[in-house]
């Protein structure tokens, strides 16, 4: 039987398009020190480290050992986990497994990326099959754009509906001093008038490329209760990775991996009506149309109802289920850290440490991860210790 586990500390860098003042190790170190400070631990207290970033991005292999002086992993059990866009939720879930297994009491999960040092699109293209898909595949933006084209055709959703999602993310980011897009608000018209990158995705519809790192401390029940005034308990995690070929995913349906992961996690955490039962959600939405379609896959509303749900303001701050108080992926995207930031931000909301981006009285929070070949992770956190 798995042990109860909680998040007791989080740390993140002030995310920027380019951090010339630090190398990757040093940037990781900033996030780790902030996470340790958040739960008043030192590196000596940490039993094991799980770290990940995107394959091929900075052209540095074995980042687990390369980064030890920054991660604090010198002569500690350390593992690299890298699963594309879901890397951040994978390191979180792997750290959770470490503690839940009973073998480690305090485990540090780290995600990071220096997009400014990477050939992002070229690296992502190498995730497609070299014989069949790579000739036409062109990285994350057009891949997501194809999904949008199918969703628009099926439900009549518009570029304006998508822009409303982008507006929410950018507006929320103004409350988050760590966000890459903090201090850079956009209007609906500015989003709609931005250049077309890959029809129907415009510059205003897509995530930025960010340099940044995140770190999260997971602790066993007795440790968590001793150290944290309000730990964020792990209520459920679920992983669904589906890809064998891009063409095996049918974009005319909902995001099946997310539907399946959510179903499993909701059952484990006793979630019956997600839009009512969650107080806040930190969702891996890499582009605006995901904010329409994927909330349907998560059961916030019915199929095709995403646009109306968004325009009604249910996902804004003060709405029924605020989505991405942090500004989300469209405001910060240090890719290997991005899904871990969703988990960290959900934990911040449960712990009541959100400052200007805090949703009042959060009892249950949802975090998701998304990866390039249409796979999904779900993490549910809560204020009450699981039964």
């Amino acid at each position: 039987m798995a042990r109860r586990v909680a998040i007791i500390g989080t740390g993140q860098t002030h995310h920027r398009s380019q951090r010339r003042d630090v190398n990757g190790r040093e940037m990781i170190h900033e996030a780790v020190q902030r996470a340790l400070a958040d739960c008043e631990l030192t590196m000596r207290d940490i039993d094991a480290v799980v770290i990940g970033n995107m394959d091929h991005f900075e052209a540095i292999n074995s980042v687990d050992t390369w980064s030890v002086e920054g991660s604090g992993g010198v002569m500690k059990p350390i593992m690299k986990v890298t699963t594309g866009g879901t890397t951040g939720t994978s390191v979180a879930i792997a750290a959770y497994y470490h503690v839940a297994s009973g073998m480690f009491d305090k485990v540090l999960a780290i995600g990071w990326e220096k997009n400014s040092e990477s050939d992002t699109t070229g690296a992502i293209v190498t995730c497609s099959d070299p014989i069949w898909d790579r000739y036409s595949y062109s990285g994350a933006i057009p891949s997501l754009a194809t999904e949008a084209s199918a969703y628009m055709e099926k439900y009549g959703a518009t570029q304006r509906d998508a822009a409303r999602v982008a507006l929410r993310e950018r507006t929320h980011a103004q409350n988050n001093p760590y966000a890459h897009m903090h201090g850079r608000p956009l209007t609906l018209d500015e989003i709609l008038d931005s250049p077309m990158l890959a029809y129907p995705i415009k510059l205003g519809d897509i995530c930025p490329r960010t340099d940044g790192a995140a770190a999260v401390v997971f602790a066993a029940e007795d440790v968590a209760e001793k150290l944290a005034p309000r730990p964020a308990w792990i209520k459920a995690t679920a992983v669904r990775h589906t890809y064998s070929w891009f063409g095996d995913v049918d974009q005319r349906t909902g995001l099946e991996s997310l539907e399946r992961a959510a179903r499993e996690a909701y059952a484990a955490a006793g979630i019956k009506n997600p839009a009512e039962d969650f107080d806040v959600a930190e969702l891996y939405l890499p582009y605006s149309y995901a904010g329409l379609k994927w909330i349907e896959s998560l059961g916030f509303c019915g199929p095709g109802q995403g646009p109306q749900f968004i325009w009604d303001g249910h996902t804004d701050m003060g709405g029924k289920i605020p989505v991405n108080p942090s500004g989300g992926v469209m405001s910060t995207n240090c890719i290997g850290a991005t899904a871990l930031l969703r988990v960290a931000e959900a934990a911040i909301q449960v712990m009541g440490k959100g400052g200007a981006r805090q949703v009042p009285d959060v009892k249950t929070a949802l975090a998701t991860g998304f990866g390039g070949c249409w796979w999904s992770d779900v993490v549910i956190l809560g204020k009450e210790k699981p039964a």
């Binding site: 050939d119 070229g122 790579r134 029809y199 063409g247």
Partner: protein
């Protein structure tokens, strides 16, 4: 007078040190294109689905496949995008020419989707649901890879649009 500066031009044909095995069924796919200008998929005896390109294992049922199914070179667009921004293609080291359209196409008789280029870059002239047909290279120019299919072209505009 000093000697003139002599220029050189390096071949843009960047060599990549990779060689990927296509396998028996994948090879058959390209051989069918060359011999008959048609596609071939493979049917799973358990779930009954026909998938293209043909592969040895059904991932869902996790069992071996051997029933090849001929498929016509026609299908329907289920999703597409028009790529407008330049990037370096890691397969060649060269900038991918833009704009270009790539789409997900359900080939007639297949249950899954096939991805390739569609030769229409005007977003007002392409729609999900349009019918397309593969345009092949002349057989003598075929090399047994995905570029033996030059692209797909739109063959019909949906009525009522």
């Amino acid at each position: 007078m000093s000697a003139p500066e002599l220029l050189t031009m390096t071949s843009p044909d960047v060599g990549m040190p990779y060689e990927w095995s296509i396998g028996i069924y994948g090879s058959k796919f390209f051989q069918e294109i060359r011999a008959h200008q048609r596609f071939v998929g493979i049917r799973c005896p358990q779930c009954g689905k026909v998938r293209v390109p043909p592969r040895r294992v059904c991932g869902t049922c996790f069992r071996e496949l051997d029933e090849l199914v001929p498929l016509p070179p026609t299908g329907t667009i289920i999703a597409f995008t028009i790529v407008n921004y330049p990037f370096i293609d890691p397969a060649t080291g060269l900038e991918r020419p833009v704009p270009y359209t790539y789409g997900y196409i359900q080939l007639d008789g297949a249950d899954n989707i096939f991805s390739h280029i569609i030769n229409e870059t005007d977003e007002t002239r392409i729609k999900v649901g349009m019918r397309v047909r593969a345009v092949f290279k002349p057989a003598a120019e075929m090399q047994g890879n995905i570029q033996d299919i030059r692209h797909f072209e739109i063959i019909e505009v949906k009525h009522g649009e």
